[in-house]
Symmetry: C3
Subunit: 146 residues, 3 copies
Amino acid sequence: MILANMIHQDSFTHSTPGRGTSDIGADVGRVVAAAGIERGTATVFVHHTSASLILCENADPAVRSDLEGWLAHAVPDGDPRFRHDDEGPDDMPAHVRAVLTATSLTIPVRAGQLDLGTWQGIYLYEHRSAPHRRRISVTVLGGATV
Amino acid sequence: MILANMIHQDSFTHSTPGRGTSDIGADVGRVVAAAGIERGTATVFVHHTSASLILCENADPAVRSDLEGWLAHAVPDGDPRFRHDDEGPDDMPAHVRAVLTATSLTIPVRAGQLDLGTWQGIYLYEHRSAPHRRRISVTVLGGATV
Amino acid sequence: MILANMIHQDSFTHSTPGRGTSDIGADVGRVVAAAGIERGTATVFVHHTSASLILCENADPAVRSDLEGWLAHAVPDGDPRFRHDDEGPDDMPAHVRAVLTATSLTIPVRAGQLDLGTWQGIYLYEHRSAPHRRRISVTVLGGATV
């Protein structure tokens, strides 16, 4: 079997409604499908420091709201220890949350598709209270039989 | 020097004895050795949301038990704030722990081997109390001199 | 458009002054520029378990000092729950901090450069109190038009 090596890169923006998670699995999947790459990896990257990416259980929305509750408790808005509050009480917590989660996720591609587990969803996590437009890139590296 | 670009992808399952870490370095190393790729990266991915991956000190087992102690304290089982407890008091903490650690690790490959630091071990972290079978994929991207 | 697939891998060491963040964006950027790869990914990897990598806001240094404050509070030095203290009260906290942040970052490369957001800086995070020499590898995978 000969594999022709290929690279496919695309980006999209997602408008968030403020703090919380948005399922971006379909958007990422579209870039992977367009790549025509059978086997390799897809790297999802968010170009911001107050939003991040998570792979999380996709069946019960309570998982993501409980995660939000945990983060809100662990990194409280308006914590008086934070000096950086230029953009409000949710500014610095957003940066800490982004560091604790992920800016990039690298997911295997198999049979031309994201090879996720049954319960794995890809979420953009907005950590700021206000809505934001967030840019996300997907780079697919790998090959296809020729 | 000419590098022929190559892709190698394989997966394996690991049966965990319940909460705690399992050294999967030899399993990952075997996939990398089979790849025949001299230089590039190996991406390790766990296809679950209540188990995760860490690179951690590999000499003193107390490092991993102390890490477990820290996580057990920071994300307590049975926390009444959690609504998602379908599978028990360790269910939601497992999802939070997975988000705080990593679902994928990308490690450089050099001279045909994982280029890890002296003290870096690759561990599968089971966050559920009960034993589970976990699927792990390794994708090696890179090249070899021809 | 034909892309010739390419791999470029290099490493450098950074001497840290002890606990805190060091901007390594220029060092990583130099490896990416030397790669001559137009499109793909750059994976930055730190070969240690008591130092780590973060992508963080690069305009206001208070963001990184607030992050340090949060970590110092969440994972206190000398915590009596930690048994692993061979190298001092900052030893085990360094390992926990490394697990909570990142050992590898994969960043898209576009137009031959790291495609970072406006406010994204790449930092080496030294978690030990004493100065250390840390090794960092960069692997660039992708292609260039020929």
